[in-house]
Symmetry: C2
Subunit: 482 residues, 2 copies
């Protein structure tokens, strides 16, 4: 039932579009992202927010191309939302009617509070599970903050603090010293309840800072979504970045197309961390556009049903030839039965279960190297609702396929539990797979007595026996098929 | 229209099954492979080929499990074929009627000539394009050779030379010295026309030898199918392997489950290379089972239509959201128009075209890291009909995405043309992609005059212009949108 939705976000700096594909009721993934530097806010901050005719023309051209792309992708819905620049502009209605008349696009102006809430919806549903946090989404014209407490969005505000705004008001005029007090002043209007040790960083500037930190420390994953760090450890780096000259930015690991406004972004970020009292930063690749999309599919609660994960389900919908239910059950039961032997914490059961469900996700790509490929799929697509540590663990359990160790283990070592833990989890999954090697989906029962794993109901599993005989066990015990 | 076919191969040593999924008329890929060591030939060579009751029982159990798997995969056809051990056995009919009565499986005995022909069909259709070669498929009980000349199978024979046979007749009796003359004698019956400088190596033993050579030289790809080498360069290695003691086999990079018969395989291989006069060895991961499957779908010619590649088409069927025809056309036209500048050989156009067609093959996995993921898909699934060098070039053109170089280039350097060539091809693809960034599928024309690439019909491609402005060109020239 693949249905596609386009969400267009007309900001002060750029116009962006994300195309979401839904593979079942709540499962989705993004299949395309597009960006054009429309610079709607260019020159506007000194002219009462008035959008220049040239910018308006550019916005229409971009909208037209985006619409064409959305149609080409057969999107059945297009949401087009204007944020800060459009809110500020006395001549916004001109652009809105151009969009409607010339393109048939219903361009909506989003209030600052709603914009902040959309960011909160994205973070709440798509980050690793967190109950208490403040989101910060820095745009070209404004910054949005949402307060989440007890797993609910309890407040949301928008401040007139954006990268392009700061650039035009201070940086372009070489009047940098006035920027910090301006930011401090703006954060004074932040309600006093916006306090949290967790800050969720949304938007291109903050993603660029996270990417720079990741590459500086040779981080083993490339995905910026869900990259978390302690602010204290990188405070100097961010302060130096904010004070750097343009020529120095490359040294900070910042990409060229961010040079124009990264320092402004860093300054606002520093102000927000201070105002919120944040210690832990969680990077979110998902923000406003995801929030708009989710608010549509998750009406009225704006939350996924309990225990639902959109990435797991969407991987299953797209790629799995089998739901692997038998193997998930064997893996869980084996984890419980072998507990006296492995002694692992109960929390690992959930990563084991996800690994069991997705272990064959790349079977569709071909039989050869299936474990490594499935791990690759997990590393690249198990993005929502899992921390990096969880995602890597799931991938390595699959890749290692019951072996003692793996190149994947070495690669992600710093994010993983000990070699022993990984080996046990991977062994249990491989054992579970082998027990269903003939796809008989038997009702098996497991018991561990006298140093022996008794497997009841397995007498006629000849292929299983042959495969299991070849396995190397992580500890000394016997396996008996009864 | 995904249709699945199971091909079961009941050999002297093991029973194997491959499950083929067809995604369109001729396009297919393998989604599962299964193996059980039935050892049908065990002890038979000294008892007039008679299959022991125990082995027969084991074969039936394995067949039953295989049938269950095939049904679970919803295979609409099951081909079950018995080879050497069944041909030799005076009591074969007993097993055949057991299979029919107890399992409803029609187990066919394949003649030696047909078995050899099936191997030839697989090599001819699934290896990199070769017109002249001899295939050698070493099994447990026999070795099959097919002669291909002018792109056609012109002869096929089976010799009673198998690894299990040699093991039982000579190795198990510590009578190794008698093995070589026995092999030499057997090859005397090979028709004199079986001469070629190209030998295609099929079967587990020869794949194991290729794998060992690959890991000894730190080969950058893991796929053994289409791994090619000069026999002369590895002659000593193979001779030493044939003479090694079991305890030494690990040092040769041979996996444990091959220890029992790898030396026998190496000996037969040496005999064949000598008899055929081969210089170049091409490893084929495809053999008897693929030949059976192909002979069914490619009736009556047993060849794919001209210019058809099953891997490209099957990747397209499975994963592509768009057929990328516009981008393929732009890439080809740009390659031609920019010829005065890049001066590349015309043959690179075909890899460029395949890269253009498959550049977005991993878009289904998600937008982030799409180039690297698409390259991964190509490296893992573009297996049939391409040499390793071609496959790597296609992958790196995609991964590099117009950049100067890439980690993928570094990794596959030894298999690739020069950095300049790769950079140009990758630049052309990135340019072609950007020109269709808005999916308008315009009719564009290209001309290179006065150090300027003129692009006609591109005036309104705003996104294209913005993206192309950011590209780094591999040489000094202007781009003009007219």
């Amino acid at each position: 039932m693949a249905k596609r939705t386009a969400v267009i976000d007309l900001g002060s700096n750029s116009m962006r579009m994300a195309i979401f594909e839904r593979t079942s009721r709540y499962a989705f993934h993004i299949i395309g992202e597009f960006k054009m530097k429309v610079r709607l806010g260019e020159g506007a901050y000194e002219h009462g927010g008035e959008i220049a005719q040239k910018s308006m023309q550019k916005a229409c051209e971009a909208l037209s191309e985006f619409k064409n792309i959305a149609q080409n992708y057969k999107c059945t819905k297009i949401f087009a939302m204007g944020t800060s620049a459009l809110r500020d502009a006395p001549n916004a209605s001109e652009l809105i009617s151009m969009a409607r008349k010339e393109l048939g696009i219903n361009l909506k102006v989003v209030s600052g509070k709603d914009e902040a809430t959309f960011g909160g919806v994205a973070a709440l549903n798509l980050l690793e599970p967190l109950e208490e946090f403040v989101t910060l989404d820095i745009g070209g014209g404004s910054a949005e903050l949402a307060l989440v407490s007890g797993g609910k969005i309890t407040d949301a505000v928008s401040l007139n603090l954006g990268t392009v705004r700061l650039k035009e008001l201070f940086f372009d005029k070489k009047n940098l010293n006035a920027a910090a007090p301006f930011i401090k002043e703006a954060f004074k209007s932040l309600p006093k309840n916006f306090k949290s040790k967790n800050l969720v960083a949304i938007g291109g500037s903050l993603r660029a800072i996270s990417s720079a930190i990741m590459s500086a420390q040779d981080y083993p994953l490339k995905t910026v979504h869900n990259f978390a760090y302690k602010f204290q450890n990188h405070k100097n780096f961010i302060e130096n970045l904010a004070r750097a000259s343009v020529l120095e930015l490359g040294k900070f690991g910042i990409k060229k197309d961010r040079f124009d406004t990264i320092r402004e972004g860093a300054l606002i970020f520093l102000g927000a961390v201070d105002a919120v009292g944040a210690q832990n930063i969680y990077t979110s690749g998902a923000g406003f556009r995801e929030g708009v999309f989710l608010s549509d599919i998750l009406r009225p609660t704006r939350k996924f049903p309990p225990n639902f994960n959109p990435s797991v389900r969407s991987l299953q919908d797209r790629f799995l030839l089998d739901d692997n239910k038998t193997i998930v059950k064997y893996a869980k039961d084996l984890f419980a039965a072998l507990k006296p032997l492995h002694g692992l914490e109960g929390r690992y059961e959930s990563e084991l279960a996800v690994a069991a469900r997705l272990h064959s996700v790349a079977q569709c790509l071909g039989f050869y190297g299936e474990h490594a490929s499935s791990a690759f799929f997990v590393l690249n697509a198990l993005n929502y609702g899992f921390s990096h540590a969880q995602k890597c663990l799931v991938a390595v359990i699959i890749a290692q396929n019951g072996k003692k160790t793996s190149s994947e283990f070495e690669r992600f070592k710093n994010l993983l539990p000990s070699e022993d833990v990984v080996r046990w989890l991977s062994f249990i999954l491989a054992l579970a797979k082998n027990l269903d090697a003939n796809c008989a989906h038997k009702k098996l029962e497991f018991e561990f007595i006298n140093h022996t794993l008794q497997i009841y109901g397995a007498k006629e599993l000849f292929m299983a026996k042959e495969n299991i005989k070849k396995m190397t066990k992580p500890d000394t015990f016997a396996i008996c098929f009864a």
